[in-house]
Every structure is written in C-alpha cells, then in structure tokens.
C-alpha cells in the first residue's frame, strides 16, 4: 500500500509560511490537546537530521544523541519553530537541556517546561498532574489569551479519535491485517510527531485494514526502545522478510493508552486519566514487572518470536530497564537481540550480521 505521507520539513515549512503557530516540542509526553486548543501546533523534535557540530560544545560526551541532535537543531533557531519550545521532563538529560537552553544558551523564543510526574496512578500523582496541567494552561493563557473550553473539548475528542484509530491499526498490525512494510508502518506512526492532528487523522483514515489476515511474514519480532530502528534497518528487515508486528517504543505504542478510553467528558479529567493509563515506561519510573508483563502480553498477542531492543546510546532510563528485561526474557527462553544506535544513517556490517544471525536463530534456518 502506498500512503502519501508529507515530508516533515517541507510540511512544517508550508505550515509556518501560512502563519500557523508552531511550537517545538521535545520528547516525549506532553498534553498535546491543550496546545491544540490554543491553536498551537506541536512539532516534535526527536532526531532531526544533520551532524552534531555545535551542540557538543555545550554537552558532555556521554549525553544521548536525541538530546544532542535536538540542541543542534535548536541552536540553528529554525524559522519553522515560531512560538517557543516545550521541554517535558522525560529524563534528566532533557530536563537539563531545557534549563540550559532557557538560562545559559538563550534562544529568542520562550522556553516552557512540563514536569510529568514519575510513578504510578494514585491520589498524590493525579492531583499533581492536574495541577501541572492547570499551571501549564495558565502559562499559555498569558501569551495566547483565555482558553476556550469548547476548543479544548474538541481537541480532546480529536485526540481520542486518533488514539482509537491508532489502536485499531496496531491491532491490525499484530494480526497481519495491514499491507504496510516496516518502513511505511513506522513512517505512519511517526507522522503524528509533525502533522496537524486533523491531517494526521485523515492520513490514518486512508490506512486500509483487511478483514482477513494476509499471508504472514517469514519471521515476526517485537521491537523495544525509544525510537523505531533506523530506516536502513527497517528496510533490511523488510528485505529479510521480517515483520515488526508489535512495539514497545517510546516513540510508538508507549504513547498510546493501554486500552480504549471513553470519549472525553471533562477535558482535564480525560487528560489526567489518559496520562495514567499509558503503558509502563522507563521515563516515568514505571514498574519494571508491569513493563515485562506488558511486553509478554504484546509478544503473545502478536505471535512475535523474539524481541529486538534498539537502544539509543547513553539513554540512561532505558539502559536501566534493559538489563533486567533482557535477563528475564532470556530466562523465559525468548530470543533477544540488542542493537545500539547513535541515530546516524549508517548500518554497519556487524549490525547486519547481528540481525541476520538473530533471524537464523528465530527461523531455525540452520538445518540439523
């Protein structure tokens, strides 16, 4: 199937040329509906292309490339970002980057922060989350006028429709009812990072979901980590006949509620509930047992034969979880492969060998 997904920078350029207010948002979780209600478009900055040159002067060598690439992008003060930057508290590195950009480096646009609570659903965390939502709203009201509650309600409804459709697509992926290769599938997932929600919704509606499963892939894997594997790896997997049937990625299913929600009634309640039913995540200090449970559940429902961890180099939260996840999966005799990425486009010969060997293992390709 050929989806026509607009290219990120071209799309954003057209938007900013048409005077759309665009905020640059760093990974990963933030109340997007609140921004939409102020007619602010959230353009997420995860792994902008280009070499890391000037950012290195401000950051330690052991900082992850997501942070470095984001800073490199911000230092260029690109025109497409025209209203400010938002730094959610995803990890210490991003939080520090927010402070650095705001107080030390300085950019011409305002810098906002959003302190997601760490820990699971309870009275204190939900109360805290509601408070920060309200504070964030007040902060935006200073620049963009009083929030129109109908707009917020409409934004939540649209967010809810996007979530529901994404859940259907994810479910179809797991059961071979999508005619998308690995590359195209993740392009579709990642288009939510920069498309206007209405454009994203219409893109999702174009995705064909089959009634019956198509012929299954040769091998099925689940991928875990922060970002999907690079296009080079996805392409390589496509060529090997390997399908990523499920994911546990921060830029993927970890930003989608674990189960369908009722349509929003009261927006702030809805946003709070939604945050707390997101899948367990290393960046929210989630419970590792729950993450493992979730991973197993997804593996089973998608019939994945193995798990590929694609780690961003120096990503502390993820590395912390990874050790224990791998240990437990190995004990359960689930084949595991770990790759480490610096977000460049290069696919080394060794990584190719790792992937092929992993596939040989999954397929039992070596005869007795």
């Amino acid at each position: 199937m050929n989806l026509s997904i607009p290219e990120r920078s071209e799309y954003l350029k057209i938007l900013s040329d048409s005077d759309q207010k665009i905020m640059g948002v760093l990974p990963a979780l933030y109340p997007r509906e609140l921004l939409w209600a102020f007619d602010l478009h959230a353009a997420e900055i995860w792994d902008p292309p280009g070499d890391i040159l000037h950012a290195n002067a401000h950051l330690q060598t052991t900082i992850c490339p997501v942070v470095k690439k984001s800073l490199e992008f911000i230092l260029k003060e690109p025109d497409v970002i025209n209203t400010g930057y938002l730094f959610p508290h995803t990890c210490d590195s991003l939080q520090n980057l927010g402070t650095q950009v705001k107080d030390l480096i300085g950019v011409s646009l305002p810098v906002y922060t959003f302190y997601n609570p760490k820990g699971s659903f309870n009275n204190t965390t939900t109360k805290y989350y509601r408070e920060i939502l309200q504070n964030f709203q007040s902060m935006l009201e200073v620049s963009y006028g009083t929030l129109d509650s109908e707009k917020l309600q409409a934004a939540c409804l649209l967010g809810h429709r996007i979530d529901s459709r994404l859940m259907d697509i994810q479910e179809a992926r797991q059961t071979d009812r999508l005619l998308l290769g690995n590359q195209e599938y993740f392009q579709l997932m990642r288009a939510q990072e920069y498309l206007l929600p209405k454009d994203y919704m219409s893109l999702l509606e174009q995705v064909e979901i089959l009634d019956q499963p198509s012929e299954g892939a040769k091998a099925r894997i689940l991928v875990s980590g922060i970002l999907p594997p690079s296009p080079q790896i996805l392409d390589f997997l496509d060529k090997l006949g390997v399908s990523i049937v499920a994911d546990d990625l921060l830029a993927g299913s970890r930003r989608l509620p674990k189960f369908p929600m009722d349509p929003p009634d009261s927006p702030l309640d809805y946003l709070t509930d939604r945050f707390f039913i997101l899948p367990p995540c290393s960046t929210r200090g989630g419970d590792l047992d729950e993450r493992l449970h979730q991973l197993n559940k997804r593996s089973k429902s998608s019939k994945a034969q193995g798990v590929l961890f694609d780690l961003v180099k120096f990503c502390e939260p993820e590395l912390f979880d990874h050790r224990l996840l791998v240990k437990t999966l190995r004990e359960q005799k689930i084949p595991v492969l770990t790759l480490e990425t610096e977000l460049d486009s290069h696919l080394s010969g060794q990584d190719k060998t790792r992937i092929e060997a992993f596939i040989e293992l999954l397929f039992e390709m070596v005869p007795r």
Binding site: R330, Q350, T353, E356, V366, P367, R368
Partner: protein, 269 residues
C-alpha cells in the same frame, strides 16, 4: 554412490578461509589466505587454491555456503549464513560436546551458545571497541616491534602484567608508548594487552553465560599466552582446534551439506 563435496567460504576482515568436505564430513582441504582489499577476489583465489589442494574442480562441489563479513560478495556461493551460525556448527563438528564457542577474529569477537546440533541458541558480539579483537593485537605488535608469534608467548600467569587500563585501541596504544618510555619489560606489556582482551571477552561471557565445553575459534586462538589467560579466567580448559581460523568455513561446508540434503529430502517427499 559417488562422492558429493561441499564447501564453506569464510571471507573475514583479515583472512579468507575455505574448507571442503565430502558428505561424510571428511575434510579434503583447509585454506587460509589474506583477504586484502577485495573480498570477492580473495574468495575466488582461496576457493581455487582449495580446490587444487583437494584435487577437485568447481563442478565437483554440490553446494557452497558463503560466510564472514564479506559473505555477500561471494558470487559463486549457493547459500549464505552468518559466521555466528557457522562457527557454532564448525566447533560442534570438531568437539561434539561444545556448548559454547568463543570466536576472536580480526575485527570483532563473539560468544555463541549452541545446542546439541551445533545450532546457535544465543550470542553476544563485540565490535564497538577494537580491544577484544585480533586487530588490536596486530596494532600493538607493530608498536612493540614484535611479530604475532612473539606476541603469543605463553607467560607465567602469576607473572607481572603491565596495567593497560584502556579498552580503546587508540588510548591503549598511547598507554603502551608511555610504558615503553618507562622501560617496562615487553613481556609485561604483552601480558597486559592479553589481559585486556580477556577482560573484554569475560564481559560478553557474563552477559550470556557458559554452558558445556568451550571451544575457542578464530585467529587469536593461535595466541598461546592469551589462551592460558582465558583458561585461567574462565577456570576451565578450552578446546583449541588445530586450525582455528577455518572453523567458520568448516561450519559453512557442513551447513551447505545439510541444506543440500534437506532440499533433496523435501523435493522427493
């Protein structure tokens, strides 16, 4: 029935190795040649030399598995399999009780767990830093003005070893330079280098674990000092093949033979 022959061609970063067997597993040729700059030419050259050694022609070979980092460049192969699977099968053929293979080649090193058919169950691979690879030893041999054989001398394990803290070739090289400047005896430096490789291997071993007998493959298995240190660190004695560099090619030849017969079986059933 006339003899059927099978070959494995392992195009590695430093050496291109070929092995020819017949259907009973009897080895007819083992060849090790430098890879040089062109993997596909090296494969042709080594294969021709191997055929000559076995007194065979290309048409005598029923199936050929290409393996090694240059496996894609072997145009005449009938199949390709990673060196990880090939080392597993090859080591198992030589030492049937092998449960774990440690392969230390030119540009990377691997620890591979295998089942009772030599099929890979799990693996770990180091390629991030050169320490832990043969290339590291070559760079250091050069710096110490020793040949690879001199660098392989077994040392008294209890003997002194110079502290080489770095796991990066570039830094390790400068550490070696400063040790030389301090007139540290060469044997101590060699010992320190071997130890740093063993430590890298140990890291991989702990990540996937050891089972069954352990077979060491790849060119670095020629390094007797390193073998002794690795045995001491693991607390067991290692199986060392006579020809550690051709184990991947041997495994490739066996995989070619198995694939040939399983295709035959499935086409006759």
């Amino acid at each position: 029935m006339h003899n059927l022959y099978f070959a494995g061609v392992d195009v590695g970063s430093l050496s291109t190795d070929v092995c020819i067997i017949d259907q009973s597993g009897k080895v007819f040729s083992e060849m090790v040649m430098p890879t040089g700059v062109n993997g596909s030419e090296a494969a042709e050259r080594a294969f021709d030399a191997s055929l000559k050694q076995a007194d065979l022609t290309r048409t005598d070979i029923s199936a050929i598995t290409a393996t090694g980092y240059g496996r894609a460049s072997v145009a005449f192969a009938t199949g390709k399999t990673t060196e990880i699977s090939c080392h597993g099968v090859g080591a198992h053929q030589l030492f049937p009780k092998t449960g774990t293979v440690i392969d230390i080649g030119g540009q990377d090193s691997k620890v591979i767990q295998v089942d009772t058919h030599g099929r890979m169950l799990d693996f770990a691979m180091n390629d991030k830093c050169a320490a832990g690879t043969g290339r590291f030893l070559e760079v250091m041999a050069n710096r110490l003005e020793l040949d690879l054989d001199e660098l392989s001398n077994p040392l008294n394990i209890k003997g002194e070893s110079a502290p080489i803290s770095s796991t990066c070739t570039v830094f390790a090289e400068s550490e070696v330079i400063s040790l030389l400047a301090k007139n540290t005896p060469r044997e101590e430096i060699v010992h320190g280098l071997q130890r740093s490789i063993v430590n890298r291997i140990w890291g991989m071993v702990t990540s996937i674990g050891i089972q069954g007998e352990v077979t060491l493959t790849g060119g670095v298995a020629h390094n007797r000092g390193l073998v002794a240190l690795l045995e001491a660190k693991l607390g067991l004695s290692l199986n060392i093949p006579d020809n550690p560099q051709t184990v991947g090619a041997l495994g490739g030849a066996h995989i070619a033979c198995r694939a040939y017969h399983s295709t035959l079986e499935s086409s006759t059933t």
